[in-house]
Amino acid sequence: MTKIKSFEALKKYQEELKRIGDSMEEVRNAGNLVKVKIAMATCSNAAGAEEIMNFMTEALDKRGVDALVTKTGCMGYCYAEPTIEVTLPNHEPVVFADVDVQKADQIIESYIKQGEMVEGVIPVNYKTIDEQYN
């Protein structure tokens, strides 16, 4: 990476990132990419998030689901860890609570493959800074 030398260059770089991200998604089955985020802070790891991470990456790959699995920090749902957020194409993100391997399997088979809701969803209970006071 070459150093970013000005504010303008940073803005351009962000646009570039966005463009690459968008085109990558377009390429991947014209927007059929499933995004999975797994909370992996100390607390979530202690609750077993690493096992879920390994399972999800492997299982999604084996079952031929085009998915992007990423780790993220914790969303603050300590009572419900491990949590994972699944975003189906053209859907709002959904956060699943208390995920174990069995539940993860169910999420892949029912929700990701067929769009059928699985129990144990945490509703989004906060506003982002862009939603309010703008």
Partner: protein
């Protein structure tokens, strides 16, 4: 698509500023952070603002320190910027030590770049070129992610020489703490960074004049820094539009204890405790009734039902006899004994007092002993006055914030739950059923089938009774070992 109804009532009362990227971005990818306008504030300030103007923005925003005391951040930066010196330092206090508080760890693990960006901004404002993050070694994952973030930021040129093509240079290093609570106090933290004992020193001189290695130093908490980039991007007016008259923005609370939705919440200042505990927190576990909430950790106080509708801000919490602290919020129900809670926090303070000044070192130990006497049934009425007097003396005469606030749990429980102290001392009873020495093992006649299991298990022969007849425990002989309770299959033995 049907949406599950698990906790549908969880209302959108939260606004996430400090936690805006936690759980959203991949903390190990700087690209994710840039995608969410990361380092935009630094880029904008370096190319469009003078340090004075930038400090003005922070002052206008009204943000106050999120580490506990609530000192206005803009003023702190201004003091440091006005100190004349060849070398200045920016320090991030990541020595999170309150039992039950973990928002700083969450920010460092979920969004490390926001802290780096804010520290660089602070460096520009006060004229420092070096930053240190003082982090406890018990946070290995946070350390790892910070290291990754720092090397990425250097690679992209957000740290190092000539940042964004300007003349400003800044770099950040990590310093590890051994997890001493007192090192969250800024002077103690600085001494620990210098390799000295983690003991506070008298202020003034404030770190803004003479801090790390005797140079002007600005120390802010992780959560404070996490707000800074947003303030620059959205403007001081936007930020000060959130919150109450004297407390602006949001505060992250670590909701813990007997509440359904244990976790991190970020709420605007001015929200009530009731909204946090009952709406966001989902109420008390197992349908029990609310008894108290402890805010501010070992330095804070226990608030009760009557405080539930008080808007949360720095001033109001102090007026109630508690404090904001770092934002721990421990909820208690009817099964918690307030004397034991006070004793628990004092136990912590006694352990963590650095021992430099006598009021804190000796006074807290004596407070703990008094509470222990009361919990074990040896307390007398004059002890309650002794508790109060000693607490006042410790508060007034301790050297640093640790001792000045450590009696708060005692004072607030004395004020709000005096009757519990009295029943411990006079009736020798603990209504919540927590203080073991004040409880009696008792056999419920109707449940007892006379199987003799308990009598055979009792090591001191305190249980008498004929086979197939209800048994009886002699409280004078009983040593309260609990063997009978374990053995009974008929729920006949209880503690009361």
């Amino acid at each position: 698509m049907p949406v599950a109804t698990l906790t549908e009532i969880a209302v959108k009362k939260q606004i996430r500023i400090a936690l805006r990227n936690c759980g959203v971005i991949n903390p190990e990818k700087i690209e994710d952070y840039i995608g969410r306008d990361g380092y935009f504030a630094l880029g904008m300030v370096l190319s469009e603002m003078t340090p004075e103007n930038a400090i003005g923005v922070i002052k206008d925003s009204g943000i106050r320190g999120r580490g506990g005391a609530g000192f206005p951040t803009g003023l702190k930066w201004e003091f440091a910027s006005k100190s004349k010196s060849d070398q200045k330092y920016v320090v991030c206090n990541a020595d999170e030590g309150d039992p039950g508080a973990f928002m700083d760890r969450s920010i460092l693990e979920g969004d490390p770049h926001t802290v780096l960006e804010a520290m660089a901004l602070c460096g520009y404002c006060i004229g420092a070129n070096t930053g240190y993050i003082y982090i406890r070694a018990e946070y290995p994952l946070a350390i790892e992610r910070l290291k990754t973030a720092i090397s990425q930021a250097r690679e992209f040129g957000f740290l190092g020489k000539s940042i964004f093509g300007s003349e400003f240079e800044f770099d950040i290093h990590l310093k590890y703490g051994a997890g001493a609570f007192v090192c969250g106090e800024e002077t103690a933290l600085i001494h620990s960074m210098e390799g000295l004992r983690g003991e506070p020193s008298l202020k003034p001189p404030f770190p803004a004049e003479s801090g790390y290695l005797g140079k002007p130093t600005n120390v802010n908490n992780v959560e404070t820094y996490a707000n800074i980039p947003v303030i620059f991007l959205k403007g001081a007016e936007w930020f000060s539009g959130i919150g109450t008259e004297k407390s602006k923005g949001t505060k992250v609370f670590a909701l813990a204890g007997k509440v359904n939705n244990v976790g991190l919440v970020e709420v605007p200042m001015g929200i009530t405790l009731r909204e946090v505990i009952f709406e966001i927190g989902g109420g008390i576990k197992d349908g029990k009734s609310f008894k108290a909430v402890q805010t501010g950790g070992p330095s804070g106080g226990c608030l009760t039902e009557k405080h539930l509708d008080t808007p949360i801000d720095y001033e109001n919490l102090i007026a109630c006899g508690s404090m904001m602290g770092s934002g721990g919020m421990i909820v208690m129900d009817e099964d918690d004994c307030m004397v034991s809670i006070a004793k628990f926090f004092l136990d912590f303070t006694v352990e963590e007092s650095c021992g430099k000044c006598s009021p804190c070192r000796i006074g807290n130990k004596r407070l703990y002993e008094l509470l222990d006497r009361i919990c074990t049934g040896k307390g007398e009425m004059p002890d309650l006055d002794r508790l109060r007097n000693l607490s006042e003396v410790i508060k007034d005469t301790s050297l640093c914030g640790l001792g000045q606030s450590s009696p708060n749990p005692v004072l607030s429980t004395l004020n709000n739950f005096y009757h519990e102290y009295v029943s411990h001392v006079v009736d020798k009873k603990c209504q919540a059923g927590v203080c073991r020495d004040l409880l009696e093992y008792f056999i419920i006649e109707d449940n007892c089938v006379g199987c003799t299991a308990c009598a055979r298990a009792c090591p001191v022969g305190a249980i008498s009774g004929e086979r197939k007849e209800p048994h009886l425990i002699n409280p004078d002989t009983c040593i309260k070992c609990g063997a009978c309770l374990e053995k009974c299959k008929f729920d006949a033995v209880i503690l009361r």
